[in-house]
Amino acid sequence: MIDMTLDPNADNPAQRTPLVQGGMGFKDVSHAVCDISERKTPKIWFLCLAAALSTLGLLKTSILYLIWEGTGIWGLNNPTYWGWAIVNFVFWVGIGHAGTLISAILFLLRQDWRTGVNRFAEAMTLMAVACAGVFPGIHIGRVWAAYWLFPIPNQMTLWPNFHSPLLWDVFAVSTYATVSLLFWYVGLIPDLATMRDRAKTKYRKIAYGVLSLGWTGANKHWQRYEKAYAILAALATPLVLSVHTIVSFDFTVSNLPGWHTTIFPPYFVAGAVFSGFAMVITLMTVVRHIYKLENLITIRHLENMCKIILLTGTLVGYAYAMEFFIAWYSGVEFESYAFINRAFGQYGWAYFIMIGCNVISPQFFWFKWCRTNVVFMFIISIFVNIGMWFERFVITMTLNNDFLPSSWDYYSPTIWDVSTFVGSFGLFFTLLLLFLRFLPIVAISEVKNCIPEADPHHGDHH
């Protein structure tokens, strides 16, 4: 017989800790999640929203000024035609990876622990993709012609160039955003219905009523819901891999030394998962503390994510090493130079920030204490976030030193580069705060499935 002690630190796979702790029942779960949006809005929320909105205002100002003056307000120059805008784009797209990975891949792999964090992670994905989506549009020289990137039939029979990775990007990111949104929304329906059912005010009743699409919890509904969810999960799974693969093509398909490497697609995907999970931990540790969700988002959840960070961080470290090895092994002088310069050239400091944050800091997660200490993992996750931004920065800055030394130059960002990046956090946190306030931040129905009572055979006598 299995010993069912509720030890959150039990490491024996045969004796896994339950995913919902504190002896919560169905009603407790619903209450714990729904109450967040039902109770009176705390003042601190308004303060946070005000801060987030003003940062969003910074983004808006930066973009308006950009459109007014031109991309020259950024630090771009002749060899370095891409700067922070692209760095930020890849950074945000990468963060957007965790959600779909948790919901889709872990769903298909029947990893039940995903239920505690998937809603939040998916929402974060959408917010990150929204932030990412800002950049490709505004970084081009003629913003008003951005729609030419789409294959819109026109009288001049002009068509986009399907050879260009940037065009693949357009499709990859927009598909990813669409599927992620659908997936997230489908998962939300039963919970929205719960919110509707619990709603006390007229507006809440209408709003959640409309959003829950007439969900009644009927058997038929559940049946279709499960089917749709599984199909979407299957659709989303390849997208998790494809979107960052294609983002990496922006670099690899070009012929620049330091960009033109075959390792990029897997390395980018690993890096994206890495950064995505780091961002989930960053936010989750705070949210679960504030909203007292420790019983739903348990240490086991967090520890599992730390393990993924350890895995992907090590993968990324391997990729960094491999890049150097291949640069040397290929004997291509441009490539060798690009990598030596990457580490010891003008941006060497950025390279070592990247190594320190991405390769060294996750190694702490070999230790159980590190994986289970919330404050510690929060700190590490911040490091990883910083490191992953720098990874993209380091890669992009390879542009500075390519084939002809005559063209070499140094890129330094301007105040507008910084304000646009900081502003994008405003967008992210605005969306996050709205989500925290108005939507169920934990997948209620799915978590309930993980409670022992949900087992049809629960309480059966053997």
Binding site: T80, G141, A145, H163, L404, P405
Partner: protein
């Protein structure tokens, strides 16, 4: 139903309702539209008016009535000039007057506005080529900050100021007219006074004169004002050379000048001469130099290769000049030691050839403070070994009956000039590489120093300054600005400058594209200058102003020229058409030198050693400062330093580390703060400062650029001065377009020594070719039958890095000037740039020069920098262009003639193409660079644009198009004139057209006859970065050196 029954006979009906004639159906028939469609009901006229009035008001209130396209007035050619086809450019021959030898030009004009200046084919000085200043003169024409009306000045304040910012309003036009009327009155008053006192106290200060018509007016003036005096001043003069010739030959200054020819010179010694870039006839000399180095040998033709014999250039200089960078052996030597070098060279030569006894005596008695034996030239050679190697080389040539040439820079002291002339004479170069003739640029005997002291002595009351800017550029110790402010000074000037503000009257001087005149080339050939446009703001030429002053009967330039050359009717028309007057060149002769008369000059030389010195050089962009307000010139990267928008104190690496400064750190040079810039290969303990910057009164383009060298330049130290140099506090940001010195060991510029090349021609082969096929065979792959396939070849052996191509391209293709701030960010726009890499000595073991020796340990390497490679980089027009692949909107695509086209309209500015271009030739419009033109004042500058080339907007990528507009124009012309078939090499790209040394060849590679396809067959042909397999259409011919084996 009763109705159905009542109808009989054949009846067609559409519905049962009709059949029954139901009231509903009747109504349906009456109504035009179905129910609900015509419900407006009855409408009274009153109601209609109400509704209409309301609609109109609403439409108006919405602001739509005022929403219109900006109004632009166009004028139809109601009476078109004869033969003018709108859109079709016309070409006119003319000449650029210069005291260093005027340049015959062919000016392109679109609907009456000049849009491009190119060389006049067959002209002795230009030979169809130009230098970059000739190109930039076009922009100067449309400079809105030229002096626009006669300004009257009192104590540095303009009395008749006007609001120039509003552009050509009627009020402003009247203002301009009034200012000229007043000038007429003033001149009449002055003439009145001068006629009475025979020109007592009247002086004219001007540069040398090259115009016969002006000379005739001057003669007339001298007759009328017999006491008037003429003075001479210009910064870049030949006074020292003239003085040397006067001493050696006893002739008058205007009767003699030395003319060099490098065609037959097998060895050339350039003593601070920089003959490729400055001095008289530099265009012709650089062409002759390049021609004598051309090695065109088809693959496998070893015989022809063995027969080739190219010249050898030795350079001795303190500065790192363009000429120096192209030399086979370069000796960096303090400017102050130049005379000692010449003596040492004479001494060595006297071992081989006979020199005049007086000279030999002088040499023997001369004690040099400079120890050439201890001066390390490279790690293994010393200065004296260099000198003896040159001497034996020169002597051996003489023995073999061949010629050499010793060229001495114009700014060198007359003692150095004397030794140069005597050595040339002794080497038997007279009549071969050096000849003598009458002087083309006539000078007056009086100098600015004399004028200055006469003003101090109150002997001058009225001064007319023709052009120039002496208040700024005269020797500082003359305090010339104060002098001219104390008397009645009239300044004829293109821009309101430091001299104008110190004068009483500033008169607008006409641009050479605006007036009738004439000018002489360096060899004396006369040219007619014809105007291509009426003066934009009203202006006169030198001759016209003088004629006006003396109230001559004839004050029109055209009449003056006609009268001077006695040309009328068809002869005049032909002269105007050709510009060049045939058979007007001076006769050349040989002269006899009396060396002993020069000894006093030689003995007077003071030897300076062991101190810092400051050397003044004419600026490659601004010359003496006359191009200060020209954006093209300000943004032109100096061929060696790659600096734009500023000058700086150029110092060697060793000097910099001794002084403890880095690039941009301020130096204190004789009390003036000037930023430093490290250039390897400059003589140690030397700072080189170019002239023309740091202007206090100039247009907005030149304002705030650089540092004024003239403040440190006194009458007795015009070339160099002893200097106290120390590190000063602070740092100044200098905008350079290329920070990197070395090629990092990459095979970008391929070169070889000619002797090694003769033994192994494979050095230029493409070692990356995966199939072992030659790149030439590969080219055929793209040559589709019956199509044109455009290609370019740049001969790096001919290219000297002057940068004319860059400016010619800028003029042709409407390339924006972006300003210092953006150059600092690396956003310069030049479509064809000049890459510069320094190289150190020749490695005999490796059989190659060592371009990457500069990476570390600069101290020692600095010593070894022997030259620089210059590599023009236009778009490569790759067959497999990496840029085309990555553009998401297909804005850059390949056309069937091999061009990599840019569709500006389609470009959305992702800049991906720029990233993926391995040659980094793409340029991005980060801002709306044409926005300047919104200012009314800039209206006029728009006229500089080539109408056949799109002016690019913000957010669009641009790059070299191989002058696609020229290609298409030629094809259209061929269609009209020649049944569609283009004649071989009937046109070329702008860069190739203006290249002074014909280093750039452009044409159809699918035509075996074309020059470009022959160049592609050359042994030295190679492409840049072949391993990327982009298959560039632009290829290069490797550079060759001709090393003296004695020097390794």
């Amino acid at each position: 139903m009763s109705q159905i029954e009542s109808n009989r006979g054949k009846h067609y009906w559409r519905s049962l309702d009709e059949l029954a004639e139901s009231p509903e159906f009747k109504e349906h028939l009456e109504r035009e539209f179905p129910e609900g469609a015509s419900e407006l009901g009855s409408f009274s006229r009153r109601g209609f008016m109400k509704i209409m009035a309301a609609s109109m008001t609403l439409a108006g209130a919405g602001g739509l009535t005022s929403c219109r396209r900006p109004e632009e007035k166009i004028l139809p050619y109601a009476s078109a000039p004869e033969g003018l086809i709108p859109g079709k450019a016309r070409f006119y021959a003319s000449a650029i007057p210069r005291t260093s030898g005027s340049l015959g030009i062919l000016v392109k004009s679109h609907e009456g506005r000049p849009t491009k200046i190119d060389g006049l084919p067959g002209h002795p000085a230009s030979n169809g080529k130009t230098d970059k200043h000739a190109q930039a003169d076009l922009l100067s024409l449309y400079d809105p900050f030229r002096l626009q009306y006669v300004k009257y000045v009192e104590n540095g304040k303009v009395l008749n100021g006007a609001d120039e910012e509003q552009g050509m309003t009627p009020v402003y036009r009247k203002h301009i007219k009034d200012s000229w009327t007043k000038l007429g009155e003033e001149l009449a008053k002055l003439d009145d006074k001068l006629s009475k006192n025979k020109g007592e106290g009247f002086a004219i200060l001007s540069p040398a004169v090259t115009s016969a018509s002006e000379e005739s007016v001057r003669t007339e003036l001298s007759k009328k004002y017999s006491n008037a005096k003429f003075f001479n001043w210009e910064v870049l003069n030949e006074d020292n050379a003239t003085h040397a010739l006067k001493v050696l030959t006893g002739k008058k200054a205007n009767d003699i000048q030395a003319n060099y020819s490098l065609t037959d010179a097998k060895a050339i010694v350039s003593v601070n001469a920089d003959f490729m870039m400055s001095g008289r006839d530099s265009l012709r000399l650089s062409k002759e130099f390049a021609d004598a180095r051309r090695v065109y040998v088809k693959k496998g033709d070893q015989d022809a290769l063995n027969k080739t014999d190219i010249n050898r250039l030795y350079t001795v200089e303190a500065n790192f000049s363009v000429t120096g960078s192209n030399s086979d052996h370069r000796y960096r030597l303090a400017e102050s030691a130049t005379f000692e070098f010449m003596v040492a060279l004479s001494k060595e030569l006297s071992k081989h050839i006979k020199l005049d006894a007086s000279i030999t005596n002088f040499i023997e008695g001369f004690v040099s403070k400079y120890d050439f034996a201890k001066d390390a030239l490279t790690t293994s050679k010393t200065g004296s070994e260099f000198i003896s190697a040159i001497a034996s080389d020169l002597a051996a040539l003489k023995k073999a009956g061949k010629n050499s040439a010793i060229l001495v820079g114009d700014d060198q002291s007359s003692a150095v000039q004397i030794l140069g002339l005597l050595l040339n004479d002794a080497l038997g170069n007279q009549g071969k590489t050096i000849t003598f003739s009458e002087r083309s640029a006539k000078v007056s005997d009086h100098t600015i120093e004399q004028l200055s002291s006469m003003i101090s002595e109150s002997k001058i009351a009225d001064l007319l300054i023709l052009g120039g800017n002496p208040a700024y550029d005269a020797p500082a110790d003359l305090k010339f600005a104060e002098k001219i402010a104390s008397i009645n000074t009239i300044h004829l000037t293109s821009h309101f400058n430091e001299t104008s503000i110190a004068s009483k009257v500033a008169v607008p001087k006409a641009h050479f594209l605006e007036y009738w005149g004439d000018t002489r080339s360096a060899d004396g050939t006369a040219n007619i200058i014809q105007p291509l446009i009426a003066p934009l703001f009203g202006a006169v030429s030198d001759a016209e102003l003088l004629a006006k002053l003396i109230q001559s009967k004839q004050t029109k330039g055209i009449e003056l020229v006609k009268a001077t050359y006695k040309l009328e009717g068809p002869a005049w028309e032909k002269a105007v058409h050709d510009s060049t007057l045939p058979n007007t060149a001076y006769k050349t002769s040989t002269v006899k030198f009396t060396a002993n008369k020069a000894i006093a000059n030689l003995e007077a030389v003071e030897v300076y050693k062991n101190g810092f010195e400051l050397v003044f050089k004419s600026d490659y962009s601004l010359l003496d400062g006359s191009y200060n307000n020209n954006g093209w010139m300000q943004e032109f990267p100096d061929p060696i330093t790659k600096l734009t928008w500023d000058n700086a104190a150029l110092i060697s690496y060793k000097t910099a580390s001794d002084l403890g400064v880095q690039n941009g750190d301020y130096l204190n040079i004789n009390g003036k703060k000037i930023p430093s810039w490290i250039v390897p290969g400059i003589a140690d303990k030397t700072a080189v400062l170019s002239l023309g910057y740091g202007r206090s009164t100039t247009g907005p383009v030149g304002t705030g650029t650089g540092f004024n060298a003239y403040e440190l330049r006194n009458a007795n130290s015009l070339t160099w001065t002893k200097a106290d140099i120390s590190k000063a506090s602070g740092n100044y940001e200098l905008a350079s377009t290329q920070d990197h010195w070395a090629m990092e060991g990459r095979e970008l510029v391929k070169d070889d020594n000619i002797t090694d090349f003769k033994q192994n021609i494979a050095i230029f082969d493409n070692k990356f070719d995966p199939n072992g096929e030659s790149i030439i065979a590969d080219r055929a792959e793209w040559n589709k039958e019956g199509s044109y396939q455009w290609a370019m070849v740049v001969d790096l052996n001919a290219c000297n890095g002057c940068g004319t191509c860059t400016i010619s391209c800028q003029a042709e293709n409407n390339i924006s000037v972006v300003g210092k701030e953006r150059v600092l960010k690396g956003r310069e726009m030049h479509w064809i740039r000049m890459d510069r890499y320094f190289f150190s000595g020749y490695d005999t073991a490796k059989g190659a020069f060592m371009p990457d020796q500069l990476r570390s340990d600069y101290d020692e390497k600095d010593l070894q920098v022997e030259g620089a490679y210059h590599q023009p980089i236009p778009c490569m027009h790759c067959e497999k262009a990496p840029c085309e692949l990555v553009c998401p909107v297909a804005a850059t695509v390949h056309n069937e003639e091999g061009l990599n086209d840019m569709a500006y309209n389609r470009c959305i500015g992702t800049r991906y193409c720029g990233n993926n271009c391995p040659y980094k030739v793409r340029r991005f419009n980060f801002f709306q660079y044409q926005e300047n033109f919104k200012d009314k004042r800039y209206e006029v500058q728009k006229m500089v644009h080539n109408p056949n080339v799109t002016v690019r907007s913000r957010g669009v990528m641009e790059k070299c198009t191989y002058c696609v507009q020229r290609i298409n124009e030629a094809k259209i012309d061929a269609k009209v004139d020649n049944g569609g078939k283009l004649e071989t090499d009937s046109f070329t790209a702008a860069c190739a057209q203006s290249c002074p040394t014909e280093a750039i060849t452009f044409g159809d590679q699918n035509n075996a006859e074309s020059k470009v396809s022959q160049m592609q067959d050359e042994t030295r042909n190679y492409v840049l970065l072949p391993e990327l397999n982009a298959r560039p259409r632009t290829s290069f011919l490797g550079r060759l050196k001709n090393r003296n084996s004695e020097l390794g």
